[in-house]
């Protein structure tokens, strides 16, 4: 049996919320599980229970062959003995220590030489060379994050826990560091649980996603599963995207990317993040324009021919589900549906501007 983290617990606060978590994940390779949900959904509490910083009130947490907590058997292993690497939201670096002292803080095993070698390797791996003697307060957000990661990794943890690792940063930095963090997590190859409330971050960083809301888990699965087949209306609204389709970038040219999606090729403004080919194509339903006849000339780059599969009223707008070689959802007004006399099997042309298509690496 592959080593697994098996989590099944409740955490009740007196006169407060009840948090329930029930999931498992492999811990024998660098699998990244994302805990995704709005603030107040119990994500951080779940992570803190895993680290041993909170005491669970029912159930158990088992990591491989070790029982970390079991309420019925009265077992509660303290955080010191769980060997987890916790990266806090604000990084919680020790302000009275230098970068190197922060990283070396939890290291106790091995000889002095071995430890120094390991620190040197971490400094190198996380591009912190040259910053050894600096204080955390003098570092940029990205550098602080890397120090926090190095400090957590220095103990050789069985499991990395990252609480909103990107939320302390401003937006441009966040986008840049998102790519960097993903590359690092791949490179490190440790099982990790990461919290985010940003769906694109979840999609970008997670091998699997756990969606939490109001203290409970709504859905678990691969990012694609969760985002394309929300098992719960709340998940769909949390995800907030009508179309998320896997594709492959086949060509890049003059700032645009040509993406193979099913049998269609669509044109999108290229992502600046990094050079990937496997991607998700994310299109919001309100950005899809419908016509009955082909448009003679238009600035929009994508004109996809297909037919209507279903029309679902959805609040003020109607969801028009089409087959254009792949499943595409458009959000249009009921008046437009009437004027175009759309019914099932009506042939339509869906028009989407290249700028309205968001490419997310997968």
């Amino acid at each position: 049996m592959a080593a697994e983290l098996v989590v099944n617990f409740e955490k009740a606060y007196p006169q407060g919320p009840l948090i329930r978590a029930n999931f498992s994940m492999p811990i024998d390779h660098g699998h990244v599980t994302v805990l995704f949900g709005p603030s107040g959904s119990g994500k951080t509490t779940t992570l803190r229970c895993l680290a041993g910083l909170e005491r669970i009130t029912a159930g158990q947490i088992v990591c491989g062959s070790d029982v970390w907590a079991d309420v019925d058997r009265g077992i509660m292993i303290p955080p010191q003995q769980r060997r987890v690497g916790f990266v806090f939201q604000d990084y919680a670096l020790f302000p009275h220590m230098t970068v190197i002292d922060n990283i070396a803080y939890g290291m106790s095993s091995g000889s002095r030489a071995e430890r120094q070698q390991r620190i040197a390797a971490l400094l190198e791996q996380l591009q912190l060379t040259g910053l050894e003697q600096r204080r955390p307060q003098t570092l940029s957000g990205g550098q602080q994050q890397r120090v926090a990661l190095a400090r957590a990794l220095a103990r050789n943890p069985r499991l990395l826990l990252l609480d909103e690792p990107l939320s302390a940063l401003d937006l441009p930095t966040r986008l840049r560091l998102r790519a960097e963090l993903r590359a690092r997590l791949r490179e490190i190859g440790r099982p990790a649980i990461l919290i985010t409330h940003d769906w694109s971050e979840a999609l970008y960083l997670g091998d699997s996603v756990i969606v939490m809301a109001q203290g409970g888990i709504l859905q678990t699965g691969s990012p694609q599963e969760v985002f394309t087949k929300p098992a719960h209306p709340d998940v769909a609204s949390l995800v907030g995207v009508d179309n998320l389709i896997p594709g492959h970038i086949i060509r890049r040219e003059g700032g645009v990317a040509y993406v193979q999606v099913g049998c269609q090729t669509i044109v999108a403004v290229d992502s600046l993040e990094d050079h990937f080919t496997a991607c998700y194509v994310s299109i919001r339903g309100e950005n899809v324009v419908l016509d009955r006849e082909p448009v003679s000339s238009s600035s929009a780059r994508n004109h996809l021919a297909g037919h209507v599969v279903d029309i679902q009223p959805s609040g003020q707008l109607d969801r028009v589900v089409m087959d254009v070689g792949f499943r595409l959802v458009a959000l249009v007004t009921p008046l437009a549906v009437k004027e175009l006399s759309l019914i099932e099997n009506t042939r339509v042309i869906a028009t989407i501007k290249a700028a309205a298509i968001h490419l997310i690496p997968r």
């Binding site: 041993g52 910083l53 303290p78 003995q81 060997r83 987890v84 916790f86 302000p95 939890g106 103990r155």
Partner: protein, 235 residues
């Protein structure tokens, strides 16, 4: 100006503030981090010398250390002599009298350390005990200094407790404040004035030092008064 009484005073204040640092740290740690419901009772007991007349405190210390109490008898059997009207007796009384001046700045300092730093240390495998020495104490530097300086200064300035427990024995228990009282009793106002101005300047210098050290962190008075305001460092 009698240098013997200055020497006695400095010795007493030095020994007292060092002992208070040693016992104040665990008390402050317990007061900061304990979850016990009856913690407020201990807090009140520690703060008692702030409001109690020194004569009341001195009276109880005298009675407890005296030959008629079991504490006094036990001490006499252990060390071979009685504590009242000795330097050691004075140290015991001073420690009780200045206890809040050591404990409260320390407790405020420990409470201002961001809990996440403490938790980070735990997740890095460091015990609660070692976390105290590696994270909490270094983060509370200005407060440790405040605790030492305030308990030193407060001991220098004590009068009622010294008179009750130590009496007025030159070279043993006669401190500066008692000397001033003596000089005034014998209408020797010039000598009293000399000593008084030195004590005044000393107290002012000490408080200036405390405020200077703390000017970038947080106010001193709320700590002395026992209010634990959230500090600005550590976050």
């Amino acid at each position: 100006m009698n240098w013997t009484s200055v020497q006695t005073t400095l010795q007493l204040a030095g020994v007292t503030s060092m002992i208070l640092l040693l016992i104040g740290v665990p008390i402050a740690y317990w007061l900061t981090f304990s979850q016990r419901r009856w913690k407020f009772l201990v807090e009140s007991a520690v703060a008692l010398p702030l409001v109690l007349p020194p004569t009341v405190l001195g009276y109880y210390v005298l009675v407890w250390l005296g030959p008629h109490s079991w504490v006094g008898q036990a001490i006499e059997q252990t060390i071979g002599h009685r504590l009242p009207f000795t330097f050691e007796g004075l140290v015991v009384a001073s420690c009780l009298y200045s206890l809040p001046f050591a404990v409260q700045p320390l407790a405020a300092g420990f409470a201002a350390v961001h809990p996440r730093l403490i938790e980070a240390s735990w997740t890095l495998g460091i015990s609660k005990f070692m976390t105290f020495f590696r994270v909490i104490l270094p983060q509370s530097g200005p407060n440790v200094l405040t605790a030492v300086v305030l308990s030193f200064a407060h001991t220098v300035g004590e009068f009622g407790v010294v008179l009750m427990v130590g009496g007025n024995i030159e070279g043993v228990t006669r401190t500066i404040s008692i000397e001033i009282y003596d000089e005034v009793q014998t209408l020797n106002f010039d000598a009293a004035g000399h000593t008084a101005i030195i004590l005044l300047l000393f107290s002012f210098a000490v408080l200036s030092l405390v405020y200077a050290v703390n000017r970038n962190s947080r106010p001193v008075w709320p700590e002395i008064l026992g209010e634990k305001k959230e500090g600005r460092h550590g976050g």
